[in-house]
């Protein structure tokens, strides 16, 4: 018995040692520079897409090797800041539109304002630049130009006798009631309201529609008034009426896609990527060819449509030892050629792409919706302490959805705590 144990241990040790050694040898034999890039595992530019783009970059730039790393969105922010302390962390990071303020203040990202050429400045949609800007400086290139659209199941709407998708949120509620009453689906609307940033994106869309704002001119919370409260009231009301899928409180975007693609919802709010996956991929969807997409609705007298700025950018970190090669990689990844090639999952940042038939073919309705939505994207608040504010807001949304407090009270609590609670 003891002999067996010992030999097992020896095997483990020798095996481990060999593997560790192999790793070191592997590193020594690498190309001249290695860039570490942090991405998120998602469906718009999926892991394999990013890996394919990266392989193209390596082919075009012998001597530079790129290690792509993928974490879920929920881990992206913390990983970026944590790795910053590592010194040998990432060279290139993907960042959300809400982080440049924090990352600029804490010197996480390199200011690349001077590296952006006039052609780039001209070619990229003006709205896309807001993704990477803070106090007039640019901290990267916009990469994923994205907002939430209203998706609908054309077959269910037809069966319900609804001729046009809704133009206002009130109309959406009415149509959902018809669909529910006709028992076409049990819960007509599905959202991503898990206690995460995803819920804030849906909420922001509604805040934009109701003409609310997050912060007033002096930077104090303003979401606990007017449009901010109306938006949350709408969320609570549709939940109470059984129009919203009650599991939405647990859903992230991929869950929304699964439910919508299974034909279990008539309406869904989601990012660009869902269109082609739900409408064109029979392996991923049971409603191929039955997906409609329009800008998220507006509110009569206040807005015609609504949209949240959910874009993301690629930037170079201040700890990078190869900032020039890293920037080269960023420029490649955000270039018009690469973006046009993968336009089925994420629309390009380049203005002229939208009139390129190669890009628009097969997704005309998405591009039409994008033309309207991308022009009215509503920002989430720009503040270095965005993470705290967002956490408080997520809590407020859940408190109200669970009926522990009225929407106004819940938001008031969040506004009070935003000053610096736990």
């Amino acid at each position: 018995m003891s002999g067996k144990f010992q030999s097992l241990i020896m095997q483990a040790i020798i095996g481990g040692g060999l593997l560790a050694g192999g790793q070191m040898i592997g590193h020594g034999a690498l190309a001249d520079t290695t860039i570490n890039a942090l991405f998120m595992s998602q469906a718009a530019y999926s892991e394999s897409d990013v890996r394919a783009m990266t392989a193209d970059f390596e082919k075009a730039n012998p001597g530079i090797k790129v290690n792509a790393e993928f974490v879920p969105y929920e881990g992206l922010h913390d990983k970026t800041t944590l790795a910053q302390g590592a010194g040998s962390g990432y060279d290139v990071v993907l960042f959300d539109v809400i982080w440049p303020a924090e990352f600029a203040e804490n010197k996480v990202l390199v200011d690349v304002t001077d590296k952006i050429t006039p052609e780039m400045k001209k070619g990229v949609l003006p709205g896309a630049w807001t993704t990477v800007e803070y106090k007039g400086h640019r901290y990267g290139m916009p990469w994923i130009l994205d907002t939430k659209y209203l998706f609908y199941n054309t077959e269910i709407l037809k069966k319900a006798g609804i001729a046009h998708p809704p133009k206002t949120w009130a109309e959406l509620e009415k149509q959902a009631e018809i669909i529910k009453n006709k028992k076409l689906v049990e819960f007509p609307i599905v959202w991503s309201w898990a206690q995460a940033e995803a819920a804030i994106c849906d909420y922001t869309t509604l805040v934009a529609a109701y003409g609310g704002k997050f912060l007033d001119e002096s930077g104090k919370p303003a979401f606990q008034t007017d449009g901010g409260v109306d938006a949350l009231k709408y969320m609570v009301e549709t939940t109470d009426k059984g129009l919203t899928n009650p599991h939405s409180k647990e859903y992230l975007e991929e869950d929304v896609r699964r439910v919508f693609s299974s034909g279990d919802a008539a309406f869904a709010l989601n990012w660009t990527y869902m269109y082609n996956m739900a409408n064109g991929d029979p392996k991923e969807s049971k409603i191929v060819g039955k997906v409609g997409v329009v800008p998220a609705p507006g509110v009569a007298g206040k807005s015609e449509a609504s949209a949240v700025n959910g874009s993301m950018g690629l930037g170079v970190t201040t700890t990078s030892k190869h900032p020039d090669d890293a920037w080269k990689y960023v420029v490649f990844m955000t270039s018009q050629d690469v973006q046009n090639k993968y336009a089925k999952l994420s629309l390009p940042i380049w203005a002229s792409s939208y009139s390129d038939p190669a890009v628009t073919k097969g997704q005309e309705s998405l591009v039409a919706a994008a033309k309207k939505s991308l022009g009215i994207m509503f920002p989430r608040p720009t503040t270095p302490t965005y993470q705290q504010l967002s956490t408080q807001l997520q809590q407020a949304l859940h408190t109200a959805l669970l009926k522990s407090a009225s929407p106004a009270d819940a938001l008031q609590t969040a506004a009070d705590a935003a000053g610096g609670g736990l």
């Binding site: 302390g85 804490n106 898990a194 206690q195 995460a196 599991h247 699964r258 809590q395 522990s404 736990l422």
Partner: protein, 294 residues
């Protein structure tokens, strides 16, 4: 022969690497956390100012802190309570003679050996509101009439996590209890049967004295472990919905690493240390009572 002084010196020398290591990786960071907790230190650097007790005052004045402590305590009580009960019952069962006993006992190893993160991931898949096995099974058995969002409702999320935790950890309690049961001398049991004692009084008079020591140790250890819980919650809910599963460790992580408030996070962590110090004292007292510590 070597003299006593040399023996004593030698034994300290042999112990030195361990003590040095522990001072280095535990003692020093702990002291440093204490120092940081009195400042406004940020994770990414910047100026550091002395705040005195301000962080502690802020934490102790925040209702949110007490909610988190209460959630943690509930998690500990429910999980460890159920693990104790289920573990004891399973041990009593496995103490019986039946065909296949060896197989069932071997199966007990399975949850114990499964990595915590894998366990959490597995249960998250099982609880999935639309495509999870839990909803499917209970609907098909007619126990619930509609699919429910187990991890999405504050009423059920904590219990759902507790079940996952119990599944993984009750075998540990059971195996310890089983070993204790099997240390009860056969003659004692036989004698009790001959005396005509009923099953309950037999259990209390003969078996319980052998069980109580190891079981207490197991339970106290589980309490201390459960109090620190992070992995399983992080993977299953990250503290949601509506903070209903947010424990102290999650709160510290959030403050120190998501919000980069290293000082504030440190002060919460130290309050947690104080609470666990009480638990540890309890543990050592029990060990001492058992005569382990002289």
């Amino acid at each position: 022969m070597m003299n006593g002084n040399w023996m004593s010196l030698r034994s300290w020398l042999l112990l030195a690497p361990l003590l040095a290591l522990m001072t280095f990786i535990i003692g020093w960071p702990l002291a440093k956390t204490v120092a940081v907790s009195f400042t406004d230190a940020k994770l990414l650097g910047g100026d550091v100012h002395w705040l005195g007790l301000a962080n502690y005052q802020k934490v102790l004045a925040a209702p949110a802190f007490y909610e988190v402590v209460w959630t943690t305590i509930r998690f500990v009580l429910i999980s460890v309570g159920a693990e104790f009960l289920l573990g004891l019952l399973a041990a009593l069962l496995l103490d019986q003679k039946f065909h296949g006993r060896g197989i069932v006992r071997a199966l007990m190893i399975l949850p114990w050996a499964l990595p915590t993160v894998v366990n959490a991931t597995m249960w998250r898949l099982i609880y999935n509101p639309d495509f999870g096995a839990f909803n499917a099974l209970f609907t098909q058995l007619g126990l619930i009439d509609a699919y429910r969002s187990w991890l999405g409702e504050p009423g059920s999320a904590l219990y759902a996590i507790c079940l996952a935790d119990v599944w993984k950890n009750f075998p540990l309690v059971a195996l310890i209890a089983l070993a204790a049961l099997q240390s009860v001398p056969r003659e004692l049991r036989a004698a009790a049967v001959i005396d005509g004692a009923g099953p309950w009084s037999r259990f209390r008079a003969v078996i319980l004295p052998y069980l109580i020591g190891p079981l207490t140790v197991a339970v106290v250890l589980r309490i201390i472990e459960a109090f620190k819980v992070f992995d399983i919650i992080w993977v299953m809910t990250r503290g949601g919905p509506a903070n209903s599963t947010k424990t102290i460790s999650i709160l510290v992580y959030q403050q120190a690493f998501s919000f980069q408030q290293a000082g504030l996070g440190g002060s919460i962590a130290l309050i947690m240390v104080l609470i666990s110090a009480l638990l540890i004292t309890g543990y050592v007292t029990i060990l001492r009572k058992q005569g382990e510590l002289k």
